[in-house]
């Protein structure tokens, strides 16, 4: 088909609505914002939760240090200002993925309450699910999966959350998971149950 040549085309716009994507996917999208100390289980839990959701046929994605700190945020360090900018950018990317119909899981310490709340405000009520992986500092330090606490105690890492920088606990997180009290499967089960209760995931 050859259409007529035209230099005065009506360049109209169209866009796919989020509701159309949700209908297609069979589930609504959401941001599952994991927050907690280093070693509290954010990364592990988010991966297991993603796997469980993916296996149910949902569209999912994880943003974590592995795919963000070396890419989008590779110009940022760990000063308070840089942490804030880091979390801001992640919030904006999560919002785009939310709009794209994805259940996006983020796994960052995100120690400042204000930064998390700013991201919550970016989206509509019910879109931002704050999941606090609550765990005693002592347990996190015993786990020390990356050897970071040891380095922080030795003064080799500055601004380390829990040691030389603050962690501000969530005041009203949608979900609290005590990762030093339950094993991974139980934690995942509880999160999925909460997501169902919140209407993110169909029962």
């Amino acid at each position: 088909m050859h259409a007529p040549k035209s230099r005065n085309i009506t360049w109209s716009h169209s866009a796919i609505k989020r509701s159309e994507r949700a209908e297609r996917n069979g589930h609504r999208s959401a941001i599952l914002w994991f927050t907690g100390l280093s070693g509290s289980g954010k990364s592990t839990l988010s991966r297991h939760v993603e796997k469980a959701l993916f296996e149910r046929g949902f569209h999912t994605y994880i943003l974590d240090g592995d795919n963000v700190r070396f890419g989008l945020c590779r110009d940022l360090g760990f000063s308070p200002e840089s942490r804030t900018e880091n979390i801001r950018r992640i919030g904006e990317v999560a919002k785009l993925m939310l709009d794209a119909g994805v259940i996006v899981l983020t796994a960052f310490i995100s120690p400042y309450r204000t930064d998390r709340d700013v991201n919550r405000e970016l989206v509509e009520d019910g879109d931002f699910i704050e999941i606090y992986t609550k765990c005693a500092l002592k347990t996190c330090e015993d786990r020390d999966p990356k050897g970071l606490y040891k380095k922080a105690r030795a003064g080799e890492i500055e601004n380390f959350t829990g040691i030389s920088a603050p962690y501000e606990e969530p005041l009203h997180p949608e979900i609290v998971i005590e990762t030093d009290a339950h094993d991974v499967d139980r934690c995942v089960e509880r999160i999925i149950a909460e997501l169902t209760r919140l209407g993110i995931v169909p029962a």
Copy 2:
């Protein structure tokens, strides 16, 4: 089911592979990088191409000025350095969406060849499809959908591509669309045909 309480959990990792997402979705993901002058039809064409892909059941998303410049990149202006950082961040977000299984369309002038090539290098061969919306400056200026050329000519906008800032044409774009020679439907048809030929979209 109550699992035993444990303080020494094996916090193993798992992740969904891109190939698993592609299998689920029934199509591979890709970055469709539209580039061209203001008014050359990037935004309109990308929206129509997205609609066509979405209607075929594919997972799609558009990154454009509307959802990026006011969010992720709202701290950036239009100096050469800011433009480069703008395009860098968009490239990184597009890469994340690619990894999430999405056919992501980007619609930015992206005037510098180096910036586009940096983003091409971020991903694997065949993932980055550069689509040049080729259109005479005169035609773009006649269209002037946002009245920007008029302001640029009046000196009210600095660093305006094509007027007071350079546009570097792609040397080897995967697709060239002459938007002053064909209407929208014809352009969309050609792009979909090319995407099929390139193996992004099943025939």
